[in-house]
């Protein structure tokens, strides 16, 4: 069974919001759109987004680190938002595990958002239906696009490649390897929702360098070595002079 998902690497996310804007751009003009903005230039701007980047400060000053944390629908394998929907507008696709909302069936009761512990769903203030990340379902299967562009818009736009996209049920996929080898984890595992999206933790990449690795004892380019080699020699061969 296929379960498409995103794997987000918190180690390289720089919090640039490129995924937020490209998500909004693609989806507001696509199948899910428009994603309405209100008071865009006013005092209290608000709008519908499928993806938001939040920032957290971890630690006590001065020992702090800022973690940028992109958050969108996690396409849970046990989605709590689906069974509570009274109309069946909220559903999980059998073929690829994407959780979607049928905007023509949604009555805008917001009950599904109450049943999502992640706050991944947002009610569109103008269309008055519930909206959420579609994993760019209208993009990833679009055969008019070149094959390497059949990815969610956020994945395409990420400048640091912090977002990976693939099938987490295929153990040989890039995302499964990343989860396995780089300690991928799920959000709020205590609720048993089994989110398909995973996050990769911050890592410290450090190497230990010893002083003798900085200065080679037998470095042929050292001043002493060169003096020795450049000294007039009795050797007749030109080779001896230039071998190094």
């Amino acid at each position: 069974m296929t379960q498409l998902a995103l794997v987000i690497d918190l180690n390289v996310c720089v919090g640039c919001h490129a995924c937020v804007t490209s998500c909004k751009e693609w989806n507001t003009s696509g199948q899910a759109g428009p994603m309405v903005d209100q008071n865009a230039y006013g005092e209290d701007p608000t709008g519908t987004f499928f993806n938001r980047v939040q920032s957290f400060e971890i630690g006590t000053y001065p020992q702090t680190e800022t973690v940028h944390f992109p958050k969108s629908c996690l396409h849970c394998e046990e989605p709590p938002c689906v069974p509570v929907c009274p109309t069946g507008a909220s559903y999980k696709r059998e073929q690829d595990g994407i959780v979607l909302v049928d905007y023509d069936k949604c009555i805008g009761c917001a009950y599904c958002s109450w049943a999502c512990p992640y706050g991944a769903r947002e009610m569109d203030a103008q269309q008055r239906v519930m909206k959420k990340c579609t994993l760019c379902v209208d993009r990833i299967y679009d055969e008019a696009l070149p094959e390497n562009e059949r990815k969610p818009a956020c994945v395409m736009s990420c400048p640091t490649s912090a977002r990976l996209f693939g099938d987490v049920h295929d153990e040989n996929s890039d995302v499964s390897k990343a989860i396995r080898e780089r300690a991928g984890y799920q959000l709020m595992p205590e609720w048993g929702t089994k989110p398909a999206n995973h996050y990769l933790p911050r890592r410290k990449t450090e190497i230990t360098i010893h002083p003798d690795e900085l200065e080679r004892a037998d470095n042929p380019l050292s001043k002493e070595e060169r003096k020795q080699h450049n000294a007039p020699s009795s050797d007749p061969s030109l080779d001896d002079m230039t071998s190094w």
Partner: protein, 329 residues
Amino acid sequence: MHPPFSMVFLTTLIGAGQGLFLALFTGQVFSQFKLLQAHDSQFFVIGTAISILLLCMGLFAAFFHLGRPERAWRSATRWKTSWLSREIIALPAALGAVALYGLAHFLGYTEPLMITAGGTQIDLTLLLGLLATIAVYLLFICTGMIYAGIKFLQEWHTPLTVINYILLGTASGFTIATALAAYFATEESSLVPFYATWAIIFTFLALITRSAALIRNRFFIKPKSDMRSAIGINHKNIKQIAQGSMGGSFNTREYFHGKSAGFVNTMKIVFLVMVFAIPLVLLVLTFNLSGLIIPLVAVAVQYLGLMVERWVFFADANHPQNLYYQQIS
């Protein structure tokens, strides 16, 4: 949670409507089994009409909760999994059953269909009343389970939620029935003490269970999620510095009531006084003081108090998604 006013009206109005029907039927059963003097048949007709009016007003309020009310019919389709869908079916069903019960009284279908060995007359209204009682209880359970069924809202995820919906609705219905009995009371016969007694019993029971829920939510809930599990970083000192938007979003509007903790605590005292203390005193007074004013004031105070109670019910619930929306920037 941000208390939605449509839901405050829906749950309090249908609760009172259901409770009023239960009160009427309780009175009829007591009369039929000769434990109580007979009722004026107009009592049931007018009582049922008020009950239906309350249920219809609740249903009307519910439409204001929907973004797309014109599609509301679709919401009856997922009754296998969704308590909300079940309520959408149970509400018109209870409404219809109560209406049939009232119609049978209105048309005077009180000829006994059979007589039990003890001499009790079983008529059509009694059978329809039994049917409506089942429908009313199913509706109470559906309404309560909409809230109790969401495990993420730990303040609601308890059997007390369903019990409180049943007892608070029943208590307010019996208080209305007391006022109705006062309206029909004559010099010779009065049913006020009967309904007032039951209203006192249910109000008192509701006081116990609602207080139990308040105490549970205040002292015995350990939030399952915290910042560590929310973003998956194992550090005890995590502070949000940006939530991804400067001007709020659906997530900040739907899940935060925007009032101080002190205000919510004050409202708790206000509803304890208005739903329980004042009506209990007034209901006790009806035993000695006749007249319509005292029970009517009890109905009004208790209903307003129930609206405050429902507001607190929502405001008191903390959604785990709030962990992601602690700080605008």
